[in-house]
């Protein structure tokens, strides 16, 4: 044990700083991306004054936030109040240590990476709870409690979907999830050739839908932005924060958004692996760093697409109520995620070909959508509203009667 691996430490430290710089850039780009996407959906221009196409607007915002006065409510408890944003941010940041951007581009590869991600991403809720509790504001308390109550209803589906992936790949390492894996259990060899050929989105579409919906709830984005709903709890846990500390919350929110999008890509859309090897597209043999760079670019491109989907949701949907979210989580997402998990286990156990999983999943997905739509259609019944008209003169003239009986 006296041999201390200094190289590894140095790599990790440099990696952490690099990752921080990278993620800050990503967050800055995401704020611009979100504002532009929303603006396009809402038929307006969005930021357009600072820099070309408003590209420097996020920098101006950051500068404003950092130079603002940092106010602490008199009745709040100092240390906890200040530590809450740090807890939220650190947990969001730590997740990224084990997320691979490409085969070699990962700060700290871990064999149990998936479990690590699921575990660490939950810690942020503690920060939200502390922020809500120590702000000495009732709205913040409500927001913090909501965040904690929400947790259980989305965390279980996420974990179970991730477990289904682990069953399929027989590994919890994210690189294996993308590149494929081969395990020998007794005499049986379970192998999977990597997502380059078939992304998991085609194998378990059910898992994909559940993961994206539960992921949205984890992020607290529309339609599940319940814990910081502006029109109800006025920002929830963030209500009393200002200046740099609020900016840290903000940073964590966007990093989390990016991590869920990145996980969607890694778990379901093949991560950095190109649809066909880059060599075959460019026609020449590529160096390793070139392949990696192409992989990172492709991965980031796909991740931004998923983030764009989240922004699209935000421009489209109203917000659910907390009890409706929990009912949705417990009654729909959790059963569906378990169905997905059990089907996957059966397919792997009996060594059926993977397309059987697709044939199982698609009818269940369509059935679920059908029942959901039918339930809504029953509630969304416009026939409760009827048109009335002025009665004919024979019926007494100036009064309202149902349409068809008037003149």
């Amino acid at each position: 044990m006296n041999e201390f691996n200094w190289t590894y430490i140095a790599v990790v430290v440099v990696g952490i700083f690099g990752l921080f710089a990278f993620l800050s850039t990503v967050v800055i780009s995401l704020t611009w991306y979100e504002r532009k996407t929303l603006a396009r959906i809402q038929m307006r221009a969005g930021p357009s004054r600072v820099g070309p196409h408003g590209l420097l607007q996020p920098m101006a915002d950051v500068f404003k936030l950092i130079t603002k006065e940092d106010i602490r409510p008199t009745n709040s408890s100092g240390m906890l109040f200040w530590s809450a944003p740090i807890i939220v941010f650190v947990s969001a940041f730590l997740v990224w240590l084990t997320v691979p951007f490409a085969d070699g581009a990962v700060v700290a590869p871990q064999e149990l990476g998936l479990l690590y991600i699921v575990a660490i991403s939950t810690v942020g809720i503690v920060g939200l709870l502390i922020a809500g509790y120590t702000s000495s504001s009732k709205y913040s308390v409500l927001g913090g409690i909501r965040a904690a109550a929400q947790l259980v209803s989305y965390e279980i589906p996420i974990i179970v979907v991730v477990l289904a992936i682990a069953v399929l790949v027989q590994s919890l390492d994210l690189r294996d999830v993308v590149l494929g894996n081969e395990v020998t259990i007794g005499e049986r060899v379970i192998s999977f050739g990597g997502q380059g050929a078939i992304p998991f989105a085609f194998i378990m579409p059910l898992g994909l839908i559940v993961f994206i919906l539960a992921g949205l709830a984890e992020l607290g984005r529309t339609p599940f932005d319940i814990h910081h709903a502006e029109s109800e709890v006025v920002g929830g846990p963030f209500l009393e924060y200002s200046g740099a500390h609020w900016a840290v919350f903000f940073l964590a929110e966007y990093i989390n958004t990016f991590v869920i999008a990145a996980l969607t890509i890694l778990l379901f859309f093949g991560g950095w692996s190109w649809p066909s090897p880059p060599e075959s597209i460019f026609g020449t043999a590529l160096e390793e760093w070139q392949t990696d760079a192409l992989g990172v670019g492709w991965f980031l491109f796909k991740t931004y697409m998923v983030v764009g989907l989240f922004f699209w949701f935000r421009g489209t949907y109203p917000r659910l109520r907390i009890d409706q979210l929990m009912a949705f989580g417990w009654k729909s997402l959790i059963p569906l995620s378990f169905v997905n998990f059990i089907l996957m286990s059966i397919v792997i156990f009996y060594d059926w070909p993977l397309w059987t999983m697709t044939t199982f999943s698609v009818p269940i997905l369509i059935g679920g959508l059908y029942f959901g739509a039918r339930r809504t259609a029953r509630k969304a019944d416009p026939s409760t509203v009827q048109m009335y008209r002025r009665a004919s003169r024979d019926d007494g003239g100036n009064k309202l009667v149902p349409d068809g009986t008037g003149d």
Partner: protein, 378 residues
Amino acid sequence: MTESGITTNVIDKGRGMADMLINMGPQHPATHGVFRMELALDSEMIVDVTPHIGYLHRGSEKLFENEIYSQIITLFDRLDYISNFNNELGLVMAVEKLMDLEVPDRAEYIRVILCELNRIASHLVFIGTFALDMGALTPSLYNFRDREKILALFEATSGARMMHNFFRVGGIKQDVIADFPARVTTLLGELEAGIDEADKMLSLGEVFVERTRGIGVIDGDVALDWGLSGATLRASGVPYDVRIEEPYSVYDRFDFGVPVGSAGDCWDRYYLRVLEARESIKIIRQALQQMEPGPVQAKVRAIARPPKGEVYVHAENPRGDFGVYLVSEGAESPYRLKVRPPSFCNLMALRDLLIGHYIADSVVILGSLDIVLGEVDR
């Protein structure tokens, strides 16, 4: 009084055990102005509500008594500040009724067109802010875009986007611009498309229905007892519209429908307004057809002096039954001018509606009542 300065008596008279008192407003994004509610909560469930109004009180009704009638019109603009023409109409009708004035037909038609356009503008604002209360950002921007087109027409007609001061005792200030009918016709086409867009985006949307169906239900009888009016009353299944029951102006010359709900919940209250906006378009089309050239102002003295007497006039505003009670001593200012603001009366049912709902529903229910604080507080 507790430490934070909120009275605690609301717990004593409440219907259950409250474990938290929360003060919503007057600075809260979802209270539509400066309305304030004290909510007694059992976790997220509302146990009791104490509404507080008066943050926008300007003493309008006392001011009326010291102004001449043409000045009062400007004050009426500021009551319900998103349906200004409808307010003005209420006042001038009261004075005209007391003076027994015959208003030229053209003036009446222009009044109706402007009032119905204003109704559409007001309903567009309602739909947008209602969606915003539920966290849907986009409809509000779409609807404010369409409303802006209406306001641009108002500006071309009266010189002001909102505080028009355009109606006069016995007519209107001046005839409309030459291309008014053409502009209105174009505008109506755009509005129809805009209303359809908002309707498609919201009305039958899964989350929207989930949030509004069965929320804030009020029965027809109870609604009548509270004195509700307008779409809020009709949503509960009471077919009552002043434009039909006691036709004023030239409303008896148009064929239009009045949507009436039956569920009495937030969804019905919302959807009625979508349909009402469409019916308003029909009214405007008919008015444009029937309108003929002619004078727009009856012969009235520059400073109107209604004879001694009293009169009550009411009209269907976008928010409900807008009543004006005028007592004149024969002077150039009224002896007393009392306004029955529909927002104020509709707000009265709030406590009954809120108790037993979640805190998230409180903003939806308050939004569905469609109050304007300028009118509530006066």
